[in-house]
């Protein structure tokens, strides 16, 4: 089943309450996905710096991480630990070096995302627990996507939870199941792309990142995906400046959108949207099958 939610702010008021709204939306979708939950929030970009979100089952792994990076010549500015996750701020262009250091010296630490604005938090457990562990309700941000998982294609683990990020500031959440993910994973790896798990959604995300690195924008990558993806999917894709929606041509997996002057919101069900301000008079609709929708703010 799975539940997906997303919110894109058009006003400072919604930005200020981004986490509170997304948390409420995520918790409403608990019975669509009680196994695990996660969210990506886009916030606080700093010029010249990049953020790395890392995760470890044992937060003691984070001890001394800044010093470790600095001792290897990586300009690491700060680290904020939040339960099993930590956000590191590094100088732009140093995240690949940081990835190598982690792989060598702290192999228990996993990288969730990197980018100017993106932060990803995900864990096994009920959506409310996951939201509370990371303090989602008090976060501000320009846009955010969330996912509640009922696993079908791979095990219930932190790394199997959504969102998946396969390129800087990109992430994807998915309701459905892909049929050709094994073959696509082989093809992507053959093309030199990093695919880390056996999860079908990670493959879908890696495919989009690959297409976008070839020069397509998100809309074009999603259009190309319609030809190459085989399976059931409603995707919500986050980028640094916005988010996009795509449903497969059969469109079994539900999707409801709402738009006002203050926001664009996405939910697997209308229930997820009922507490948003002004929902009574919002434009509410069901996105068409095999049609790309995309909202972006000026960079």
């Amino acid at each position: 089943m799975c539940g997906i939610v997303g919110l894109f702010a058009k006003s400072p008021e919604i930005e200020a309450e981004m986490g509170a709204h997304l948390s409420a939306m995520l918790i409403t979708m608990s019975d669509r996905g009680p196994d695990s939950a996660g969210f990506a929030i886009y916030r606080d970009p700093v010029g010249g710096q990049e953020k790395l979100t890392v995760q470890s089952e044992d937060p003691a792994e984070f001890d001394g991480l800044l010093e470790l990076f600095r001792s290897t010549g990586i300009a690491a500015h700060e680290m904020l630990v939040s339960d099993t996750h930590a956000i590191l701020r590094l100088d732009v262009g140093q995240t690949e070096a940081a990835r190598s250091i982690l792989a060598e010296q702290r192999p228990a630490i996993r990288i969730m995302s990197r980018g100017n604005a993106i932060e990803i938090y995900k864990e096994v457990g009920l959506p409310e627990e996951v939201s509370n562990r990371f303090g989602l309700s008090s976060m501000k941000g320009s846009h955010a996507v969330g996912h509640t998982r009922m696993a079908t294609e791979s095990a219930v683990t932190t790394l199997g939870a959504h969102p998946f990020s396969t390129a800087p500031d990109q992430c994807l959440v998915h309701n459905g199941s892909m049929s050709n993910h094994n073959n696509m994973r082989r093809e992507l790896r053959y093309a030199g792309r990093r695919v880390e798990t056996e999860n079908d959604t990670e493959v879908a995300a890696a495919y989009l990142s690959w297409r976008m690195d070839q020069g397509q924008n998100l809309g074009a990558a999603l259009e190309t995906g319609l030809k190459d993806y085989d399976g059931f999917y409603t995707f919500l894709v986050g980028t640094e400046t916005g988010f996009g929606v795509l449903r497969d041509p059969i469109a079994c997996k539900p999707a409801v959108m709402a738009e006002t002057e203050d926001y664009v919101a996405f939910g697997s069900e209308y229930r997820a949207l009922v507490n948003l301000p002004g929902i009574e008079t919002a434009k509410v609709w069901e996105p068409e099958p095999a049609t790309v929708y995309f909202w972006e703010r000026a960079a």
Binding site: P254, E269, Y270, V274, V284, E286, P289
Partner: protein, 226 residues
Amino acid sequence: MNFDLTEVTLRAFNKALHELPPTNAGTLEVTGVQGQHAMAVGADTDATVHVRGSVGYYCAGMNKAATIHVHGSAGPGVAENMMSGKVIIEGDASQYAGATSHGGMLVVRGNASSRCGISMKGSDIVVRGNIGHMSAFMAQKGNLVVCGDAGDALGDSIYEARIFVRGEVASLGADCIEKDMTPEHLEDLKSLLAEAGIDDVEPSEFRRYGSARKLYTFNIDNAGAY
């Protein structure tokens, strides 16, 4: 009777609906509606229910005799397996509206999405706007009236249901063909539109679609049509 769902549970409302007498049951109001699933399902009474807001999955499922009026939009599977009575959706309906419905009338004043009237078995479904793809798939009996456009594969593998579309049909499904509109059909359409409370369109503006009757039983000569 009024039910404010911010104060009483949906289950309490549905239970009260089930305990009403079959006739002269009166009118019920439901407020505080926030997209709940299974709203006003399994009614077996002639009550009129006004649902003030948008509902989730399976609203008015298995309805018998009741009039369920949703003053909002409906999620997937509204009026699924309806036996009789009337279900009115003021907004849009999501996928498989009126699926497997045996009788009664479903009116959607907005648009209905994919698979509207899938496997319908004798009901009347009237949509003021458009319907999505694969509508009336394997529809067996009844009438599907669409005042707007229809999506791809309309009436795929249809049996004896009748489809009336006023706008464009993106494509017809396997074994579904356009058929002549006879005076008898125009009369039926007129009464269906009247019963649905639609008075701004004319029966003569519609085209009729139905089964070519080639796929009822397997015939090797028709293998290419599957």
